[in-house]
């Protein structure tokens, strides 16, 4: 059977681990990655020498990572350091496990952007539009939000609902970087970075690492924790205007509609079944675009959809319960997938969504992905 839907419930996340998040100038990406790996191995109780698949992302070199961890896998992939890679990585590892290219895959992501003063713009990421001063993913999202608010009347106070809800969740997450509560007025008075976006619309930049260990559902039964199954996946790229990085004139709506049809169709669930959403939030507008694209509301209506605490715990759609990139940690989607796993397991303490059985990850980006997790 060659249809991707054959993968439904065949592959499980069995171990997750993450470091502390913050500013760690005395440890490098390999050290952080190794620490997250050790935590993930402990989480699932697997003998680390049985891991025969290695995927690295934002780690400088896969072979050095393997050397450090004492691994000689039979399946190795290194992905570029882009946020959109987290969902892609999990899908690729699932396919490799199903094909038998490896039995146990460790996916390792590390970021030292804070202590090394990474800006995500300017000469770090040269582009066609540099001579006009246009640079950075944040500016691309500002360009999109400006259009969204003109076309649909979306307000910055509605946008603030996203940042306020995620900061509230971060306050319930002992590991989060930014826990100080904020209000809509705080958002409105924060300084502009690229207008119309303000500081509190931007993700954090911090150091840290995440590791996810995956295997087949069959093998997962022998490990320490309840397996968390990959029940649905969806994927669609938007490369037609890739020179305007991190930008889509229609907010990745068509791509996310396609992603939603694939993921929900494969999992046999719909938006009404989603107990918690882990939504890629490099910038707050991405969350509005994702909600529309996935069909939680109609296009243009995400502003009113999020009003009144919809995304908060206890609201209609608890979203980014760890605080997301805006307030927990900028782990480029990786920590959101870990949070999804912990929600399904019921390990989230104060921020646990009651009876979370369908938890969805999504990222609206030039490589849009969604993954639906359920208990095994």
């Amino acid at each position: 059977m060659t249809d991707y839907r054959h993968l439904k419930d065949r592959i499980a996340i069995v171990g997750v681990g993450n470091t502390a998040y913050g500013n760690f100038p005395d440890i490098d990406d390999f050290g952080l990655g190794a620490r997250a790996f050790r935590y993930a191995v402990e989480d699932c109780g697997l003998d680390k020498n049985r891991i025969d698949g290695l995927l690295t992302c934002r780690v400088p070199h896969y072979a050095r990572m393997g050397e450090i961890l004492g691994l000689n896998p039979r399946w190795t992939i290194q992905l570029p350091p882009h946020g959109r890679m987290s969902g892609m990585a999990i899908v690729e590892a699932a396919a490799a496990l199903e094909a038998g290219l490896c039995d146990y895959a460790a996916l390792i992501y590390a970021n030292i952007g804070r202590s090394r003063r990474v800006n995500y713009g300017g000469d770090e990421s040269p582009g066609v539009w540099d001579p006009w001063g246009f640079t950075s993913p944040g500016a691309a999202h500002a360009m999109m939000f400006q259009r969204h608010r003109t076309l649909y009347g979306t307000t910055t106070r509605q946008l603030a609902e996203v940042s306020v809800a995620f900061r509230y969740h971060a306050g319930l997450n002992p590991n989060a970087v930014m826990k100080q509560p904020i209000t809509i007025d705080d958002h409105e008075s924060a300084r502009f970075i690229t207008e119309p976006l303000r500081l509190l619309d931007y993700c954090l930049i911090n150091d840290g690492a995440v590791c996810i260990i995956m295997t087949t559902t069959e093998r997962a039964r022998d490990l320490r924790k309840q397996p968390v199954l990959i029940s649905g996946i969806g994927a669609r790229e938007a490369f037609t205007t890739a020179s305007i990085s991190n930008f889509d004139i229609n907010f990745w709506y068509d791509e996310m509609q396609d992603v939603a049809a694939q993921a929900y169709g494969m999992a046999g669930v719909g938006t009404a079944d989603v107990d918690a959403l882990m939504c890629y939030d490099n910038f707050s507008p991405t969350v509005l675009f994702s909600l529309e694209g996935l069909g939680f509301c109609k296009q243009g209506e995400a502003g009113s959809f999020v009003e009144g605490g919809t995304l908060k715990l206890g609201g209609k759609l608890p979203t980014n319960t760890d605080g997301g990139h805006l307030s927990n940690s900028y782990m480029q989607g990786w920590a959101l997938n870990v949070e999804a796993v912990r929600q399904v397991r019921g390990e989230c303490g104060e921020r646990q969504v009651k009876d979370a059985e369908v938890v969805q990850y999504c990222g609206a980006t030039p490589c849009s992905r969604s993954i639906i997790y359920t208990p095994g």
Binding site: G121, P131, G133, Q146, R147, R191, E195, I249
Partner: protein, 138 residues
């Protein structure tokens, strides 16, 4: 002696993009047209994204377009833009189809409306590089 003014980033001029910058220096806005299928695109590409032909030419366009969006930078990612803060960047949809990012000039933020007509103007950086920019249509 005055400290040197920090430089702004310069375009990367290569075999694909050279025609665009030669035209700009002559105050002509151009996009790439496929000699085989007529597809218009920007930025330039080594092959036509539609038919994969390697035969591509830079052809002048009207210089007229629509303001699709705009932002205002309050942060300088290059020292060369620090003196310009806050500065305006626009996204323009040309009448001929392709989109491009540029700066809007001769307009204040309160004058800008998404959907308004804009037209090209040219600003020389130096003898080699001239940047196409846009202003509200007259």
């Amino acid at each position: 002696m005055q400290p040197a003014t920090p430089a702004k980033p310069r375009p990367r001029i290569d075999t694909v993009s050279r025609g665009f910058w030669d035209n700009a220096r002559a105050q002509r806005l151009s996009v790439q047209r496929c000699d085989d299928c007529g597809h218009l695109h920007f930025p330039g590409s080594p092959v036509c994204p539609k038919c994969l032909s390697e035969s591509q030419s830079w052809v002048p366009v009207s210089g007229r377009g629509t303001l699709l969006s705009w932002v205002r930078f309050h942060r300088a990612y290059w020292d060369g833009f620090r003196a310009d803060l806050p500065y305006l960047v626009c996204l323009v949809g040309l009448e001929e189809g392709p989109m491009l990012v540029s700066n809007i000039v001769d307009a204040a933020p309160e004058d800008l409306r998404i959907g308004m007509g804009v037209e090209v103007v040219f600003e020389a950086m130096d003898d080699e590089v001239t940047l196409p920019k846009f202003r509200p249509s007259s």
